[in-house]
Amino acid sequence: MTHAAVNAMGPPSPTARGVDAYDMKLGMWVFLGSEVMFFTALIGTYVILRFGAPGEWARPGIVLSIPITAFNTFLLICSSVSMVKAYAAIADGNPKLLNVWMLVTIICGAMFVGIQVYEYQHLIHRGLLPSGVREGSELAELVANGTLPEATMGLYGSSFYTMTGFHGFHVTCGVISMLYLYVTKALRGKYTPQDYRGVEVVGLYWHFVDLVWIILFTIVYLV
């Protein structure tokens, strides 16, 4: 569909002129504002724990699997672009393309969660628990020979699992929401160029989850 045709149809009229956003979209932005504060609390706590820790902090490259997580980060970025392509597709009046891009987004999101579960299994196997390092494990040996600091491994484990776990929970909620919209609306052709609010609102949430991961990846895995 050409842009001229889309222009002729015009966008849906917003119900609230103040911010030029319909109720659901405004509600999502307010919710995302609260989510910023939620993740700020987690990151702030991490900062307190890390900078106030009684000793050195474990280097992420030794404990965590950076290549796996880097791939996961790339996957989430890909899912974000596929989500916005889904949005663009329905805005341009192409519901079939919307279905394709939404499915790609759902698959990428589910893969992200799957890889995170694998990462957790791998870390637990190596000996990193939320309470610290498991005795007799591979990481316990690194603690014993001084490669990893003994005093802060408990803080490291608890903050790592809390931050990445809550983010993973958000991704899971996003995947479930998108799957619901995909099955109940997108596949049934209920989204049109005149009304694609669900796609836009769930897209905002999904991009926010990606945005938070960008910050968490840097703070938890790279610094």
Binding site: V19, D20, L32, V36, S80, G203, I214, T218, L222
Partner: protein, 92 residues
């Protein structure tokens, strides 16, 4: 949903930027022999740059009205104050 009446931003180009910036972050974190503080500063700049790209183009904040942008931005100074206040724990 203003985007229906205008041309979409170059989403794939932005995706490429994000991928390249992620690669740059990894190289910076594990390959470049620079001081820890400089590394931290550069990594945070790259992370904020990537987050801004996502917010501006994927979340379409660049194309929203000014008051919706303010609504989205308001939590950020609050978050910065919170984290700076938390960091003073170490100073005191």
């Amino acid at each position: 949903m203003e985007t229906a009446t205008r041309k979409h931003p170059p989403y794939l180009l932005i995706w490429l930027y994000l991928a390249l910036l992620t690669a740059a972050e990894l190289a910076l974190a594990f390959e470049l022999p620079i001081s820890q503080n400089m590394k931290l500063l550069l990594l945070m700049i790259l992370a904020v740059w990537k987050a801004a790209l996502v917010a501006m183009f994927f979340m379409h904040l660049k194309f929203e009205r000014w008051n919706l942008r303010i609504l989205a931005i308001v939590p950020l100074p609050l978050a910065a104050i919170f984290i700076l206040a938390a960091m003073t724990e170490k100073i005191w």
